[in-house]
């Protein structure tokens, strides 16, 4: 519910400025994707850190399965639950606020959406290890980066607005490309897209595979470190 509230404020800002209606849809789509980003950041990235804080991380390492499978399950569950939550955002955006979009190709939307989710949750799996390794610092930095990521990903405005800076940042956080592709599918030229949709989709799949490998590497490193030093599973470490 909370991201939908923030999204509403931005939709109303566009309305107050007298912007074209398509920008309201831009903000609504950004608000819906923000549900996933928050889940990736705090539900995936911070999950192991939270488990450590609660003293349960040792159980994860002792479990007779790979850490990768645990994180994959977390990602699938998180994505499913977040999808249910986004229904609220959709209801607020298109129901309460009365934002309208033209007809679009549902299959194309689902494809770019899936590519975006793959890249996002793979990044979340990598972040889980980073959070665990760097503890409080990672927590604070991630906390501090929430709004900056919104900005560099063009969550509430077309990424093209940021020019070359937007191009550069979109390659780092997959949220920007995923959102841009979805906007292009839904809004067409009114989305002011950055790259053609097929290219953005390919980049998203590429980023997804890259982050999956990174996550695998980071988890292996973490496991070795945990076995060698025996301190990663302790609180305040």
């Amino acid at each position: 519910m909370l991201p939908a509230v923030g999204m509403s404020a931005f939709v109303l800002l566009y309305r107050a400025l007298g912007a074209p209606k398509s920008f309201e849809a831009v903000a609504v789509l950004g608000g819906i994707l923000s549900f996933y980003w928050i889940n990736v950041l705090w539900g995936m990235g911070a999950q192991l850190y939270w488990e450590k804080q609660q003293g349960q991380l040792a159980l994860y390492f002792a479990a007779p399965c790979s850490r990768m499978s645990i994180l994959t399950g977390m990602a699938l569950g998180g994505a499913l639950m977040t999808t249910l939550r986004t229904l609220f955002g959709i209801a607020v955006g298109f129901g309460v606020l009365g934002v309208r979009v033209p007809h679009f190709h549902l299959g194309a939307l689902l494809l770019v959406f899936a590519a975006g989710l793959l890249a996002l949750y793979a990044l979340g799996m990598t972040l889980a290890s980073v959070f665990l390794l760097y503890g409080r610092e990672a927590w604070h930095v991630s906390n501090a980066l929430q709004e900056p990521v919104y900005f560099v990903s063009g969550l509430y405005f077309p990424l093209r607005t940021l020019g070359a800076f937007g191009w550069a940042m979109a390659g780092i956080v997959p949220l920007g490309f995923g959102l841009d592709a979805m906007r292009q599918v839904v809004l067409g030229s009114a989305a002011h897209g950055l790259l053609p949709v097929p290219i953005e989709t390919a980049i998203l799949f590429g980023l997804g595979l890259f982050f999956l490998m990174t996550a695998r590497f980071a988890l292996d490193y973490l496991e070795r470190l945990a076995k060698r030093e025996g301190r990663l599973t302790q609180r305040w470490q």
Binding site: V5, Y14, A16, L17, A144, E147
Partner: protein
Amino acid sequence: MRAFAARLRSAAWLGWQIESNWADPFLFVVYAVARPLASALILVGMYWAVAGQATHRELFMAFYVANAFHVFLTNLVIGMGWLIVEEREDYETLKYVYTSPIGMFTYLAGRSTVKLTLATVSATLALAVGWIALGLRWDWSTVAWGPLALTLALGLVAGVYLGFLVAGAGLLLPRVSITMNESLAVALYLLCGVIFPIDLLPRAPGRLAGAALHLLVRGAAPLPARARGEHQALGLVRRHAAGGVGAPARWCSCWHHAGVTVRSSGARASSGAWIRARRSRGRPPREGTMIAHEPHILRLYVMRLLYLLNFLFLAPDVWPPLIHHNGPWDPVKGVAFSFWAALSTLCLLGIRHPLKMVPVLLMQFVYKLIWLLAVALPMWPTMRGAELTRVMLGGVIADVIVIPWVYVWITYFLQPGDRWRFSVQAR
């Protein structure tokens, strides 16, 4: 006083250590400014995106400045709630703070000074970025410095006290305090209309909730200004960006902000009561508990002085016309004079029993407040200079200062009411 200042300083120092000890100074500065700056940049990005197509571009500056000032609300009100969560759930040090001699309120107040400092840095930076980098220029000659300073000061006090309320609620609602803080943050952003006119909210219940929260947090800005979605602290851009609001309206908004401050002080008292209630839960009431809440002897004398002045100024004005008036009086005017005559007489009793007669002062405070809000405010341009307005306003201010509000709160709201049934002795 010196001990209080020392405790406050210790709490502030501790707060700074907690806020900053996890990172080197550079990283901490980045952390402290990154979020509010990014929030401002999101607005700028949105503005850039629609710059060529928007039809109300002049409003953007007002929203930008409002967004910059909103960080005070976020840091002070929501920050205090997070503080409880951190102390209780992250560091698990709440019990030590709670039992330490520093006291919970002093500790919270000290921590709030750090949050205020960080908020000031963030807001200044956001404004500077807007001015220097983004070319958002306002006309300094139109800045209404007096109302701006007063509004900011009152708003900050209100923010701190509302923070106490959120912290108190967080103490009592441990399982939902994180959700409460997050919800409050976004609710304040949306329902205060920080970046859009409040009347753009969808109809009820959204608008109703928005209006209620808007009144609670920001005070009632003059209605035309509120309809344009301006922030209470926007005295500096109000005329420049939104077409002009006269000086009476600006001071009027300050006056309403004072009302918010008073309400927030009540909130602080209520959170204090919650804490006390929690502290005393499960224990029998101690003898002499109320003694600690009895007003200082100095206040009793100040109250006596007010009773005396009430009598001296009121009685000579109302009793002679009541006794010697010629012909029949307008009945409603007669009610007013009879009321004042009774009030002045009861004030004599107040000199002997200042605390027992405090309802007389409350009556005086409430009726003057009602008169100011219901009679003077709607015709403020004509009434602002009237002598009666000055008298009523002065009376309200004097009552606010003199009435022992903590005593009133405890006596009339916290202590059990009188019995509703026959007691054994009565039968």
